[in-house]
């Protein structure tokens, strides 16, 4: 009997080998400040989505995937997070995973965190890297398995990124940057990773080598990044070696560019369609993900399954309304649809609520209309308020008859974001996309933005952000502190200039069946001319350039007749005039200036009168040409008179 006992203990100790412990690293900050200034008082991970803090979703998902050790990296409000973890007993004996919180105030990006991680040397093997604002119901174990398998075949496999297939129309994807991923179909290796700016960039260049040796390369545009990755133990040292890796995308791009040097490869994993993973990093995403939670896409994370048994369960009523027992509803109150109301909240009489989430302990007055809004805990809303597309954070108070964002229904319904602890006076009307903060916030030097505060009353200031100097196209519209966009316009997939390029090239192909060389020659000469014009070069230098190009491209002198300096004989002049006419029919500005141009050329004795007269008389019969002739008529008349004068002399 004792032998059996020892055998049992031996096997159990073997299974508890150190390397098998699954570790996860959660980055609690997003370092980008989209939820500013709410994030001044609450850390990002504790922002409630449908009344549960984001961090809880993340930790729950990890524990469902049997993760055993979690390392939380915080950079701000660490004490609040620690308190939260203690409160919710994540670190208790009874929970299956151990949560360790690391604090580092100086970290400014993911890269810094990874470097810190490397310094601490707590990672032993592959780990799961997620961010604290992830809401997902995916099972990470099969992904981890696959990563390990890939590592057996390819020693340099460093990271497996998880992507979800999402078509262009999907809401939560429209709000991210479009990514194009080029992967090898057989091995799943990522070959190229490009982020597209919406509506721009007509061509994407992919090096030829990626195609040549591989029988099949897939280019995918329909993917949404979940920001979940399985990293091997080699990742933190890679971050330490390359100090310019700040974000995960930098890392990916750096690895792809410097493949030979770093000898590391990245693979991808496509998430099964039945799983959901999203990353709440701005307000629009917040809205989209809340919507998905209410619609039960993220089962088992639905409002009516509690995370802890101490909280009251929600009732799931028809039309997607979730309500806890201790909610008191006044007479005539209507909870229309897609609404979540948490415990101990009082809702006054004749109040209409639709598409909103209301936190616990709120007190909502009579005749209030709340649509598409998110109201957090301990909020007091006075009677007769009208709240649309807004977020009202903890402990705020709204006076009576406050109207938030009437706005027009059609396009962007940009909402209001009201920070925690704000007291809005009665009869206050707020327009779209204004963020109200509690107190005058100090200028945050790091963020390069300036705040202007307009005082509404004590404890309520409207925040206006003036753009800083170097904001480039990097800053998307969504990055700014706007409210919600309920209806974003469909992203036009083609820009004007792109069409002109493609049509222009087609036209030029058809108009002038010149051999390729001449075409190249023309473009080069046009380039040097425009450059010369801008830099105000001496025309002689330009002539030299054109001459050399001419020889380089083996172009006959005839072709060059289009340029003024080369016009010597009458044949050439005819060509020149014809060219001017052709150009004038297509370019409006030139038409007006044509008369002046002809005059100038005549003065400079480049075009003789005879040729001009001949051109005028023998022109095309088409409408355009006749118009042109009419415009040039005064000049011609002047010429004839001048002719007569010189003849008469």
């Amino acid at each position: 009997m004792s032998r059996k006992a020892t055998k049992v203990t031996k096997t159990s100790s073997e299974t508890l080998k150190k390397e098998d412990v699954i570790q996860a690293v959660v980055i609690v900050d997003s370092f980008k400040g989209e939820f500013h200034p709410i994030t001044d008082s609450i850390p990002l991970a504790l922002i409630p989505v449908v009344n549960k803090p984001l961090l809880d979703y993340t930790l729950k998902c990890l524990s469902l995937s049997s993760v055993q050790e979690v390392f939380l990296f915080c950079c701000s409000h660490a004490d609040l997070i620690k308190q939260h973890i203690k409160q919710n007993k994540w670190n208790d004996e009874s929970s299956t995973m151990s949560v360790t919180v690391f604090v580092n105030e100086t970290c400014r990006s993911l890269g810094d965190v990874m470097r810190d991680l490397d310094a601490k040397a707590i990672i032993r093997s592959d780990f799961i890297l997620v961010s604290g604002n992830m809401i997902a119901n995916l099972n990470l174990l099969p992904i981890l398995q696959r990563h390990k398998e890939i590592q057996k075949t390819d020693k340099g496999a460093v990271m497996t990124m998880v992507y979800k297939e999402a078509g262009v129309g999907k809401k939560s994807r429209k709000l991210e940057h479009e990514t194009i991923l080029a992967v090898d179909s057989s091995s799943g290796r990522v070959l190229a990773h490009h982020k597209l700016k919406p509506r721009s960039e007509s061509k994407l260049d992919i090096p030829l080598e990626t195609y040549v040796d591989r029988p099949r390369v897939e280019l995918r545009h329909n993917l949404q990044d979940t920001y979940v990755s399985i990293c091997s133990a080699a990742v933190p040292p890679l971050f330490s070696d390359n100090f310019d890796f700040e974000t995960r995308d930098d890392f990916v791009r750096g690895l792809l560019l410097n493949e030979e040097i770093l000898a590391s490869t990245i693979y991808w994993y496509m998430l099964n369609k039945s799983y959901y993973a999203a990353h709440v990093n701005n307000w629009q995403k917040y809205q989209a993900v809340s919507h998905d939670v209410i619609y039960r896409w993220i089962h088992p994370f639905v409002p009516d399954t509690p995370f802890s048994w101490e909280k009251e369960p929600y009732m799931f009523l028809r039309r997607n309304v979730y309500k806890q027992h201790s909610v008191t509803l006044g007479k005539g109150c209507i909870l229309e649809e897609d609404t979540v109301v948490a415990e101990k909240t009082n809702i006054g009489e004749h109040t209409y609520i639709s598409g909103s989430v209301i936190g616990e302990n709120c007190s909502i007055g009579k005749n209030v209309i709340i649509c598409n809004s998110y109201i957090w805990d301990n909020v007091v809303i006075g009677d007769g308020c009208n709240i649309n597309n807004s977020v009202i954070a903890h402990k705020s108070e709204l006076g009576e008859n406050v109207i938030l964002d009437i706005g027009n229904e059609l396009k962007f319904n940009k909402g209001c974001i009201i920070g925690p602890d704000v007291l809005l006076p009665s009869d206050c009307k707020l327009e779209a996309s204004i963020v109200v903060a509690n107190h005058q916030l100090k200028k945050d030097v790091d963020r390069d933005e300036e705040y202007k505060f307009k005082k509404i009353s004590d404890k309520a200031y409207i925040l206006e952000i003036t753009k800083s100097g170097d904001k480039s196209d990097e800053e998307d519209d969504g990055q700014q502190l706007h409210g919600f966009w309920l209806e974003t316009s469909i992203i036009e997939t083609d820009s004007e200039s792109e069409d002109e390029i493609s049509e222009g090239s087609v036209k030029s192909d058809r108009l002038s069946p010149v051999p390729e060389d001449t075409h190249l020659f023309f473009t080069e000469v046009v380039d040097s001319l425009t450059r010369g014009y801008e830099d105000k070069l001496h025309p002689d230098n330009l002539i030299l350039e054109i001459n050399s190009s001419r020889y380089a491209y083996n172009v006959s002198v005839r072709e060059v007749n289009y340029f003024v300096n080369y016009v010597r004989n009458s044949e050439a002049q005819k060509d020149c005039l014809q060219a001017l006419e052709d150009m004038a029919t297509s370019v409006d500005i030139l038409r007006e200036g044509l008369i002046k141009l002809l005059h100038l050329l005549y003065e400079q004795e480049i075009l003789t009168e005879d040729n001009i007269m001949e051109w005028y008389k023998h022109g095309d019969k088409s409408e355009m040409a006749i118009n042109l002739r009419n415009q040039v008529a005064p000049f011609i008349r002047w010429l004839e008179e001048a002719d007569e004068e010189s003849d008469s002399e």
Binding site: L219, R220, D499
Partner: protein
């Protein structure tokens, strides 16, 4: 019975990639196995139910070809058309020359294609999507043996073929030698076709099923002189152009003076009734976005990639020819 399409076999090639062999004999008459090369595509057509074909040969060898084929026992009815060998006509030029004989859609086969594949998947794809062009591709077959004669300095020409993974539309076709370093891809194409598979090792069978409007377009645009090199890539590129939508009755403005500048898309216009039917039908060939079926394109190019086991080789280089003979 109305004929669905006509078959054209291009046998007037000079065999520029195998000059050592074609110096004495015309390329289409070189023997593979114990039959002349031209026998194989004709037999392919016959096996797939095609009863007559137009064979284009060089004028000088016309009688010789006729005699050889009469002896070989093919039942298919052949109409011989000769083209002058002195001028350097490309495949598209030849097709233009034939355009008055061509009354329907046309199946173009090159004389050096050797395969035993059944062509009905290609035909079905053509009929199902009313495609402008359907091209056939084979996976590389594993013929490995050393070629006699001097080692050719030419690397095998390879094509980069881009297909939309789900719908089999041909969205990108170019030769590897066109690019030095990077392959530029239009973002518009990627946004439209979300999943594009790029193949770099497929063999183009030079078997194209073209609609009649392509031939009409060839008449109009006299600059295109080869099918594979110019016409087909041109049509493939046109798929992503903005003009590639159905023309409504209100759009037509004939008095624009635009007679000369007709675009490919004008030739491909389909009947209004066809468009109405398509609009009302629930069929959509792709998922993931709210675009109408085929993204509203009227110029559609498809590619059929034969299954891996299928044998298909083009005998247009010395190496391929030799390998075929040894097999």
């Amino acid at each position: 019975m109305v004929k669905e399409f006509q078959a054209v076999v291009l046998a007037a090639g000079k065999g520029t990639r195998m000059t050592e062999l074609t110096a004495s004999k015309a390329k289409c008459l070189l023997p593979i196995g114990n039959k002349p090369m031209l026998w194989y595509p004709l037999q392919l057509l016959e096996r797939n139910g095609i009863r007559e074909a137009i064979v284009v040969v060089m004028e000088q060898v016309r009688s010789e070809v006729q005699a050889t084929l009469d002896r070989s026992g093919l039942k298919i009815r052949v109409e011989y058309v000769g083209i002058p060998g002195a001028e350097d006509w490309g495949t598209a030029d030849t097709l233009r020359h034939l355009s008055d004989r061509i009354k329907t859609d046309v199946l173009i086969v090159s004389c050096d294609l050797v395969t035993d594949m059944k062509l009905f998947p290609v035909f079905d794809m053509f009929r199902k999507h009313s495609a402008g062009v359907v091209a056939l591709f084979f996976h590389p077959s594993h013929l490995e043996s050393t070629t006699p004669g001097p080692k050719s300095k030419q690397k095998p020409e390879r094509d980069l073929v881009g297909l939309d993974t789900d719908t089999s539309r041909l969205v990108f076709l170019a030769s590897v030698s066109d690019f030095d370093d990077v392959v530029p891809l239009s973002c518009r194409l990627l946004r439209k076709h979300k999943k594009v598979s790029m193949f770099s090792q497929l063999t183009d069978a030079h078997l194209y099923l073209l609609k009649k409007w392509v031939v009409d377009y060839l008449q109009h645009d006299r600059n295109l002189s080869t099918l594979k090199g110019e016409l087909i890539p041109h049509i493939v590129k046109k798929q992503t152009s903005k003009l590639n939508t159905a023309r409504r009755a209100t759009d037509v403005n004939p008095g624009n003076g635009d007679e000369v500048k007709k675009d490919l898309v004008h030739f491909a216009q389909e009947d209004c009734l066809v468009h109405k039917i398509r609009e009302l039908s629930f069929y959509n060939d792709h998922t993931g976005d709210m675009e109408p079926v085929y993204h509203g394109d009227i110029v559609r190019c498809y590619a059929y990639v034969a299954p891996k086991e299928q044998f298909g080789v083009r005998a247009n280089t010395v190496a391929a020819y030799f390998n075929l003979n040894t097999k």
